[in-house]
Symmetry: C2
Amino acid sequence: MLGAGWTARGRRLLPLACRLLQPRPLRRVCSSGRLRGDSAASGLSEAGLQPLRDKFGGLSVRLSQLRSPESLEPETFRRCLQDSIRQWRTEGYVAVWLHVPILQSRFIAVAAEQGFAFHHAESDSATLTLWLAEGHSRLPHYATHQVGVAGAVLDVHTGKVLVVQDRNKTRNAWKFPGGLSEPGEDIGNTAVREVFEETGIKSEFKSLLSIRQQHRHPGAFGKSDMYIICRMEPSSFKISLCQQECLRCEWMDLAELAKTSDTTPITSSIARLLLYGYREGFDKIDLTMREFPSVYTGLFYKLYHRELPENYRNMTG
Amino acid sequence: MLGAGWTARGRRLLPLACRLLQPRPLRRVCSSGRLRGDSAASGLSEAGLQPLRDKFGGLSVRLSQLRSPESLEPETFRRCLQDSIRQWRTEGYVAVWLHVPILQSRFIAVAAEQGFAFHHAESDSATLTLWLAEGHSRLPHYATHQVGVAGAVLDVHTGKVLVVQDRNKTRNAWKFPGGLSEPGEDIGNTAVREVFEETGIKSEFKSLLSIRQQHRHPGAFGKSDMYIICRMEPSSFKISLCQQECLRCEWMDLAELAKTSDTTPITSSIARLLLYGYREGFDKIDLTMREFPSVYTGLFYKLYHRELPENYRNMTG
């Protein structure tokens, strides 16, 4: 089996702190995935660290488990980490995930010198990774897209659509009101919220009309942007402009928006799509939404696609 | 004007290092947005730090500009940062962005004690933020979604569609081959790549069929997931299974996939959609793609929506 573990004499000679990251022989993995071993166990449990194995052959180390982080010298951590990495590589682990509370960030540079790099960080914690196996890292990336949503609010009685001019842009182009989704916010809810915040108009989500993907999006911290335009139905009509974000806001004739050059290419395209739907039936342009329970208990997801005729929706084996 | 700056006597008495982060009076902002001032300039430029003002009223500090980071004591940095924050708040700045190279991570905990939190981190750099103004932070979030793409590869001559069974799942459900997009990778290219990697089949992107949004997606590090299924046309037909990812792979009768229970709800839904399109015209189900030049010079974006009739596509004012 991989890794014979430490000899009793070796254990006694090691400074206590160096046992922090003693690798665990794979054969001693218990059902929870926690590593157990005779010699290493005492050192690790005394310091608090308990590396966890995942089902892809990686290891997770959480510095939040350190009982007395203030008393751990970076140099001691460096030596332990170096020894552990060598051992883990020998034992066939493919990667190490290192989770660091923000107040223990002094250990990050130590890990970086051993080859760790930032995977992601948010709020009060950072996650670093080290690929141990051959070749390129096969670890999954962190989130790559921000999601922006706009609402095309069409008053079918007047044929007018709600448009705004951004305050912060150089060119005064008419656009649909919209903005970035909050973390955990559904597409339709972003549209309702942004329309209301920018214009004071209350509306309801009807369908998804378009998706635009752009990489290296300015303002997206080097990441990508998914910009989604939704068809909305208004339930109020009196504009109350948010001066902070918008220069102007009005109900504009949809046919006029579809032809004007005082707009962006994407707004023009979707205005034309919306006009087509307005004149010949929204069923021709809509992606409608259905909600499903996820296989992950307790979570739901929303699925958007072209409406299915009933006979196809209700097919059975 | 806000902030009178430092007196000559005050400047001489300050330790050199403490001038690192001397705030700049707003009136001395030059056209590049860089802050300039008589007294503070010498200290800042000696240490290398040059806070930059952005157009939203925030400040950016880059520790990569430190000339001798090793000689800067964390305690000195703490005092300077504390004084600077007080000054910047007085001067009306709304936020501070602190960019830290991974090897200078020992300054992160210092910043955190002053209220900074991680905004994001990747590779060899972390970005932290501190909201200075009243109320909740209005700073934009980092990326919130990973993007997964699957390809529904339909052989229109046989009516068979390419399906796989995942190796790593407990239940052997038939699905379309797919996987996570690489950073910067277009949706259609992910579909082509993943289909090929998992099955050995070469295919071409035809259209977008569905979008599924799920929050708190397992494996997405607490973030959200956008799962997109594309309609693909095969240009090769001999399966070469990737054993690492897939248990099985076959060309299955589309009508059978649409009715079987040995699949996931989303695969079943899209199989039925695909069958509807196969029988009554793909134009009924497709979201087609058009490419546009972005207003951001040199960049392009792909826009997906229902196909527009020509007379609507070519409307002019």
